[in-house]
């Protein structure tokens, strides 16, 4: 949990940590000091330079004017209280309290610097947007230091004698508390990601329910226009940035090093840092929600997003995107190096499980694409804070430029949200159909092909924007071509079922459900690529239906499949099969109930991102809203199953599905450093039905891989290598 766990607890016991009496006194004093300091600062800002007191740093902290003083006080007071109670252990202890404390400190220090600089240059010292911009960066730095992410790096920079490569001081979890702190173990980080992402999904889902409640009837029920805009923006952004993109990073984190036979990711500390950067992004996003919700859509088109009316929220949104992007890129680089450089001996590229292929391709997309959304949002940020006017049409800026830069990332991004899911499908379907995957190479190559083509079709999101006609035609042909490698995948999976021995366990159900849902989403994708038709349904509910079929029916279903499939590996226990099936059928039926009618309303003229609709859509919208409520209830079954099985489920063996890939050859959950010796890979990853079905061998506890009967017997298995 902390860098100092080995150097015994007593040393870490700080002042006032002895008997209960002095401890509480210390806590109280800490609280008062923290509260007083925050208040003083607040007063100082408010009085300064004749600034309107209701429009100061109070709002930067994410609060309306009235609650401001109290909350700002608590921001300082609560860390003060905790620090007083637990002393040094908290202030310097690498945990979330310290992270919070140092985040506040970081924010305040940067704020003071900004004010100082502005004074020095003769400007009005208090200015909200610059303070928030730089303050967030300061808070981020403070938080990462407080959580203990940077410890060894900082010591190294300070000239300390640190063995960065052999640094395992924060590896592995001993109790549940360790999951709330900084860790460098990919298995711990994987679980941190997954749990965090499910929480985000629940939040995103809640906003979806708000929207469905508003849309159940025509007329305005209980929202106004901007609240509704906020609701779908938050829903969309949370679902994309904190659910679907990182859930695959989470599953990948847990599974990829095991699959390639590595002890951990290539850069364990960077890995932990990407997770906590995502947390920082989330907190920034929450701050934006508190100041009044960003409401320009997840696409945040300029000049809507650069209008001053929604300036502060949008600024926080732009910062969120920077943090999310940084986190994605760090993870992607880590995956690439791990997959390219740390595979077990014998694991050639053509012997990698398809989930590994998918992750590799996705990671390249992330590294190449993410800078573009970062760039687009950085321009929004400077338009907001520095009067750069990139997108201001009055002063010669170009609103369409935003869309080009944005979609140059965000189309590849839809594959970032889907390709890892494709990988999961391949692994799950072959395992539970007990048959070699059909067309392994075709599946691997089509993944890469989709990755390449994905960069050439961004403008199909802009068919009605007014770009040149010839360009629309080019984009149409290229977009349609993407359907080819996608079709190869769907057909190969279906063919894998042929002559298999299909076990209808929950992960398999989700994959079969995925096959149906994704094919529907795929064919509507082709329809949307047809320019004349898109000119009609662009920005209508037809598009909403399309991307929910691919993102919910597609990606999210694969994420569920993956969670169920690797649940025994991750938790060491079996989930409840009956509840899993209930979850699947409930979700599958309600998904179609909620999203299929959207095709129809869209074609009929129901506009996307409208808080209201004509009366003629009343009945169908009521049906969709009821479906959404049932869907939420069904999701509760899932949460119950996960939590309950983790505590009480039957113990899982190392390889409950009789699979061949490496992660199943070790215990569930795997040992601290995954393998007792470097594994050897001998053959294809899915040798179901082969005469001697072996993908690779791992060492028993206390032995070496070379001692394994297969290797010891037959000249290191060279005879097998010919087969693949």
């Amino acid at each position: 949990m902390s860098t100092t766990t080995t150097s015994t607890a007593p040393a870490a016991r700080g002042a006032g940590h002895g008997t209960p009496g002095p401890r509480y006194v210390g806590g109280l004093i800490g609280f008062l000091i923290g509260y007083a300091v925050s208040h003083l600062l607040l007063r100082l800002f408010q009085g300064w330079g004749g600034v309107d007191p209701s429009y100061t740093v109070v709002e930067a902290a994410g609060i309306g004017a009235g609650l401001g003083p109290i909350i700002v006080g608590l921001m300082g007071g609560v860390p003060g209280l905790v620090a007083g109670l637990f002393g040094r252990r908290v202030i310097l202890g690498s945990n979330i309290f310290a992270a919070w404390l140092w985040a506040v400190v970081g924010f305040l220090i940067t704020t003071l610097i900004v004010i100082g600089v502005r004074l020095a240059f003769g400007m009005d010292p208090i200015s909200l947007l610059p303070i928030v911009t730089f303050g967030s960066l300061g808070a981020y730095l403070g938080m990462t230091i407080g959580i203990g992410a940077l410890g060894p790096w900082l010591r190294f920079l300070a000239g300390g004698d640190v063995d960065l490569a052999g640094d395992h001081s924060q590896h592995g979890a001993k109790s549940w508390k360790d999951y709330f702190g900084f860790n460098t173990d990919h298995k711990v980080i994987g679980i941190q990601y997954i749990v965090f992402n499910f929480m985000a999904m629940a939040i995103g889902g809640m906003y979806a329910l708000f929207m469905r409640a508003e849309l159940a009837q025509s007329g305005m029920q209980f929202m106004d226009g901007s609240t509704y805009n906020g609701a779908f923006t938050v829903h969309g952004s949370v679902m994309l940035f904190f659910w679907i993109i990182p859930i695959f990073a989470g599953i990948g984190n847990y599974v990829i090093p095991l699959m390639v036979g590595a002890a951990d990711m290539a850069f364990p500390r960077l890995n932990g840092l990407s997770f906590w950067t995502l947390v920082a992004a989330f907190l920034t996003s929450v701050a934006a929600i508190l100041v009044g919700m960003y409401e320009a859509g997840w696409t945040a088109y300029a000049p809507l997003s650069t209008q001053s009316e929604i300036g502060l929220q949008q600024l926080l949104f732009a910062l969120t995107v920077q943090f999310v992007g940084a986190s994605s890129i760090m993870t992607a680089v880590n995956f690439i190096v791990t997959i390219v450089g740390m595979r077990a001996p014998g694991m050639t590229m053509w012997r990698m499980p398809l989930f590994v292929w998918a992750n590799l391709t996705t990671s390249f997309l992330v590294v190449l694409g993410t800078p573009f959304i970062g760039g687009a949002q950085l321009m929004v940020l400077t338009d907001l804070t520095m009067n750069t006017q990139f997108f201001n049409p009055i002063l010669g800026g170009d609103p369409l430029a935003y869309q080009h830069v944005f979609w140059f990332y965000s189309h590849p991004a839809v594959y970032i949200m889907m390709l890892p899911g494709f990988g999961i499908v391949s692994d799950v379907i072959t395992t539970h159909a007990r048959k070699t995957i059909f067309g392994y190479k075709a599946l691997a190559i089509s993944t890469v092909a989709i990755g390449f083509l994905g960069f050439a079709v961004w403008a199909h999101h802009m068919f009605t924007s007014g770009m040149p006609d010839w360009f629309r035609v080019v984009m149409m042909f290229l977009t349609m071509l993407i359907a080819v490698p996608t079709g190869v995948k769907v057909l190969s999976w279906t063919a894998t079922l042929w002559q298999g021995r299909i076990h209808m366990r929950t992960p398999m159900l989700f994959v079969l459900g995925f096959l149906f849902m994704f094919t529907v989403g795929g064919v509507t994708g082709i329809m949307l690529a047809a320019v004349p038709f898109t000119i009609h349904v662009h920005d209508s509910y037809f598009v909403v239906a399309h991307f929910h079929y691919v993102l919910f029916g597609g990606s999210t279903m694969t994420a569920f499949a993956g969670i169920y499939h690797w649940y025994p590996k991750i938790t060491g226990r079996m989930y409840d099969e009956r509840l899993g099936k209930m979850h699947f059928w409930g979700l599958f039926i309600t998904q179609n109930l909620v999203f299929f009618p959207m095709h129809w309303t869209g074609v009929q003229g129901m506009v996307r991102r409208y808080a209201d609709h004509p009366e003629r859509f009343d009945t169908i919208n009521m049906v969709m809203s009821i479906g959404a409520i049932v869907m939420a209830a069904v999701t509760l079954i899932f949460f119950y199953n996960m939590v309950n099985s983790w505590r009480r489920g039957p113990k899982a063996t190392g390889n409950p599905w009789n699979s061949h890939t490496l992660e199943w050859q070790v215990s569930s959950p795997p040992p601290l450093f995954n393998f007792y010796d470097v594994p050897r890979v001998l053959d294809e990853p899915y040798p179901f039905g082969a005469a001697e079905p072996v993908h690779g061998v791992v060492a028993e506890k206390g032995k070496r891989t070379a001692d394994h009967p297969i290797l010891a017997g037959s000249g290191a298995g060279t005879s097998q290598e010919q087969q693949g």
Binding site: T464, Q499, I535, H536, V603
Partner: protein
Amino acid sequence: MSSGKKIFLWVTYYVIAFVVSMALVSIPDWFGAEGGVLTTEGQRIDNLFWGMVILSVAILSVILATMTFALIHFRAGPRDTGDGKYMHGNNAMELGWIVVPTIIVLALSWISYEVLVDNDQVLAEGAGERHDRGGVLEVDVIGFQYGWEFAYPEVGVATLTNYVIPVDEPVVYNVTARKYGMDPDGGVRPDVIHSFWVPASRIKQDGVPGYWSARSWTAERTGTFDIVCAELCGALHYQMLGEVCVVERGVYDAWLVELGEATTDSDTAGSVSYPCSPEGEEQTLAVRSYQNDDELLGIFTEEQGLLLESTLEASMPAAKKDTSA
């Protein structure tokens, strides 16, 4: 099972899947809203849609039939620990499902391209420039936060919210958005992107500040049809509604004369009668004059009259960001 029987069964499943899915997607009345499609161009789009629906169902049925077959005939027994057939693929088949879909999507692209060309015929035939399209009726559509203006360059007058066109005649829409908007405190700020969509016409076009984009369509029936804004533009996006009023040529001509006489003074608003008023009600349309783009892109307010672009530009940078100054 013999391969003949397999093929027979598969085909049976395919037919069932196709018929059932086709029946399901045929239940909704896809294009019935507002009495069906309004325009010639829209009819082509509806046809394309139906073609694509049938194609989609045909593709989906391949997956459904194969899945059904597999789930019925290749299920493992409850205690079955065996494996399926050991095989890695089939090159001929894989080549087939690369080539055939490629042909299908290329053909579909080509058909779509043809429809696109047909639908843009009027634009292609006109002389090409805005307000110079060989005599075709032109309407300038200007979106702003939050509403629509429809300008008739012929007479130099613009209407608000609703507009009037003649039936059976191609109309070219030059779509843009105002550059200048007004924030709630009366300050100046850039306006945003809007999108002009008449669902019954099946055509939409974004209005981007600083860009003019043209679309054209021909209404085939008289009546009124909804206008919506299809690009998120702010808090009242969902209220950016209007109505297009399609009337006989004679009615239109008379209305245009009235419109031309409604106002000549660019500083004041006027009003004209609205031919599509509901029975027994006399509605009017608010109008204002505009003679050139300069006026078009300024802000018109009832209290202040017309603020011209040049005036606004001067006040712009200072007014834009009082928060960060």
